[in-house]
């Protein structure tokens, strides 16, 4: 990730010295956000996912997450399901890349099968939720083009309103509008616009906490689909960083141990 960062800085800095366009300012905000969120090495967390349909009926999933920061490429992530019980032990391994397709494997514990899967379903729902795969995968700078819109106060917090346009293939969105907190350099709200340009979903972030005096993580995320009336809540807990995980905890063999 660092190499890309330096390259971007080389492009951004000389220009911003005399006149900064909206695109340059938008990119600069993304670069700063990425810089501030670098160096956590690895992260583990638990997540409760609550799915709600239009009638308000709920169902729940319990998920464990691990991710590994990778220099000069996208991060590696391992997601393990504890519930629903019929998919307990099912694990999803992904090697994120900025522009070229991610590498993804699915582990099916009943068969003990590790299956390489297509990563083209970026806009598909993750486990029946309102989160698409592209919403939960690691956010690399190069995945978007940016445009700064304005400064705005959101719920009493000063934010940058920054538009981003997906540059990777198979995205379900034409654009996203993100409200980035000026102190944390983390999003407070993101609006997602579908392929027809209409507002599809709104994601809000709540109860940020700081870890290792540097990394801000939300305790709760709310995704609302305006077109279907369905929503999904993510409740995060047990965040840990720098636990000493290595590539070996993110390989095909590790899937079989990750129950």
């Amino acid at each position: 990730m660092k190499k890309h960062l330096l390259l971007l800085l080389c492009i951004v800095l000389p220009v911003s010295a005399y006149a900064e366009t909206a695109e340059e300012k938008g990119l600069a905000i993304a670069v700063e956000a990425d810089k501030r969120d670098t160096g956590w090495s690895d992260q583990t967390s638990s997540m409760k996912m609550i799915l709600r349909n239009r009638q308000g009926e709920e169902s729940q999933r319990d998920i464990r997450n691990r991710s590994l920061e990778v220099e000069s490429d996208g991060d590696k992530a391992l997601i393990i399901f504890d519930t629903p019980r019929d998919v307990k032990g099912t694990a999803f391994l992904s090697f994120t890349h900025a522009i070229k397709p991610d590498d993804q494997w699915l582990y099916l514990p009943a068969l003990k099968r590790v299956k390489r899967i297509s990563s083209s379903n970026k806009s598909g729902p993750f486990m029946g939720s309102e989160f698409a795969y592209e919403d939960i995968s690691s956010q690399e700078i190069e995945k978007y083009k940016y445009k700064f819109i304005k400064d705005e106060d959101l719920n009493g917090r000063a934010t940058f309103v920054n538009e981003r346009y997906p540059q990777y293939k198979h995205s379900g969105y034409t654009r996203q509008i993100a409200w980035i907190d000026k102190q944390m350099y983390q999003p407070l709200k993101v609006e997602f616009y579908d392929r027809k340009g209409e507002l599809l979903k709104t994601l809000t972030y709540h109860d940020y906490k700081q870890y290792l005096n540097q990394y801000w993580r939300p305790d709760r995320m709310e995704m609302v689909n305006h077109q279907t009336g369905k929503s999904t809540t993510l409740l995060w807990s047990e965040y840990q960083h720098k636990t000493g995980l290595t590539d070996r905890d993110f390989d095909k063999k590790s899937l079989k141990r990750a129950r």
Partner: protein, 398 residues
């Protein structure tokens, strides 16, 4: 003997860690309906009910670098005495270090990449009484040491005990006629099921390609079924387990919506065909988010070929498999797989439909139907000609 000591050790580990880990699993009820009268009057007619139990215990520690797991399986069947059976599917300790990994106990290895026929899988024996399509496997005692390096994973397997294939009993459906007598198998090795088998496997991922290559030396899992008389003078098929050597390849290329798959084996030492090739390959293409919905529709085409042709130990020597997989991506994980198999050298074909969905947090319903058409007496699957069936399974997961 040394293997028994390892097993005893593992059982002790089970007892001592039993409080630290977690139990899960399922109880399942199964209902099968056969609309046609059986080919053999000794087989049951119409319907069959059955229940299965699969408890599982898992524990990991050392930041996930060590794990212990235990999976048992048991089934009680209304008509088929052979299908009423139990098995230890897994009793496995795994230790992972930075550059190597050790597995010891009873385990399962899935190497195949194609969907229709798991051609390359050789570590585990088929639990044929469960389903007639090689999907269910028996637990295999093993010690596996693997080097995990930048250039790939090199695994060495010692398989100290052989598991015989299960076959349906006298009253069971989906069986050969005459039936297979599992009581007196014939082994080429004088050590019979105590013969120690070995395998060596190399596996690696190179960008879009996942590749595996292996060598196996030991008692082949695929028996030849030889007609003979059993102790009561009945004509039966007797399983002959030969000592074989086998090389295998599994390869998958993943290019956006396309999955390209190839499996190949070369086997020597089995019966009258001293050496032969078999291969299976094809693709899976998925239309993701059809018409802006969440629904994925996949198209699968596979071809399987066996050099032995009609003399093959499997009914699939020149067959096409064409199927569609529909995934709704809804809250209940609803899925449907529908396809057919066509024999390239006869008019025989078979239809297969399987759908499943979850109910609430703990229940799952699975509906499967299979038909067999135009089977001629020359077809190895001729015994199945009246065994079209519909199966309903209800699982409760805990």
């Amino acid at each position: 003997m040394w293997f028994r000591s390892i097993l005893t050790g593992l059982l002790l580990v089970t007892v001592t860690t039993v409080l630290a880990g977690e139990w899960s699993g399922y109880v399942a009820g199964e209902f099968r309906w056969f609309p046609n009268d059986p080919s053999d009057p000794l087989q049951y007619k119409d319907t069959n009910i059955s229940a299965a139990f699969r408890p599982e215990y898992a524990h990991q520690w050392d930041k996930g670098r060590q794990s212990f797991s235990f999976i048992a399986f048991g089934r009680v069947d209304q008509h088929d005495d052979e299908r009423t059976h139990g098995d230890i599917r897994e009793l496995l300790y795994i230790k992972a270090a930075e550059n190597w990994e050790l597995q010891a106990g009873v385990g399962k290895e899935y190497w195949a990449v194609t969907e229709f026929r798991r051609l390359t899988d050789i570590i585990n024996q088929d639990d044929e009484v469960e389903v007639p399509d090689r999907r269910e496997k028996l637990g295999q005692p093993m010690v596996n040491f693997a080097l995990v390096q930048d250039w790939g994973t090199l695994g060495f397997y010692v398989l100290p005990y052989f598991r015989e294939r299960t076959f349906p009993g006298v009253e069971g459906r989906l069986r050969t006629i005459p039936r297979v007598d599992v009581d007196n198998p014939v082994y080429e090795s004088p050590d019979e099921d105590k013969h120690v088998d070995y395998a060596l496997r190399y596996a690696h991922t190179l960008n879009e390609w996942d590749v595996g290559l292996y060598y196996f030396d030991g008692t082949g899992r695929d028996p030849r079924l030889v007609p003979g008389l059993n102790s009561s003078g009945e004509v039966v098929l007797i399983p002959h387990y030969d000592l074989i050597e086998q090389y295998g390849l599994d390869l998958q290329g993943t290019f956006e919506e396309w999955l390209w798959k190839l499996e190949a084996i070369h086997r020597s030492g089995q019966g009258p065909d001293p050496r032969f090739w078999s291969a299976s390959g094809g693709f899976e293409y998925t239309f993701f988010g059809v018409k802006q919905s969440a629904v994925d529709v996949g198209l699968l085409v596979e071809y399987i070929w066996d050099e032995r042709g009609r003399n093959a130990t499997t009914p699939f020597a020149n067959d096409w498999f064409v199927a569609t997989r529909i995934t709704l991506n809804d809250v209940d994980s609803s899925e449907l797989l529908a396809g057919f198999v066509i024999d390239g050298s006869s008019q025989a074909h078979s239809l297969y439909v399987q759908g499943s969905r979850r109910f609430g947090g703990n229940w799952k319903l699975d509906l499967t139907a299979r038909t067999f058409q135009n089977l001629t007496p020359a077809d190895p699957g001729y015994s199945f000609r009246n065994d079209d069936y519909v199966q309903l399974q209800l699982f409760y997961y805990f």
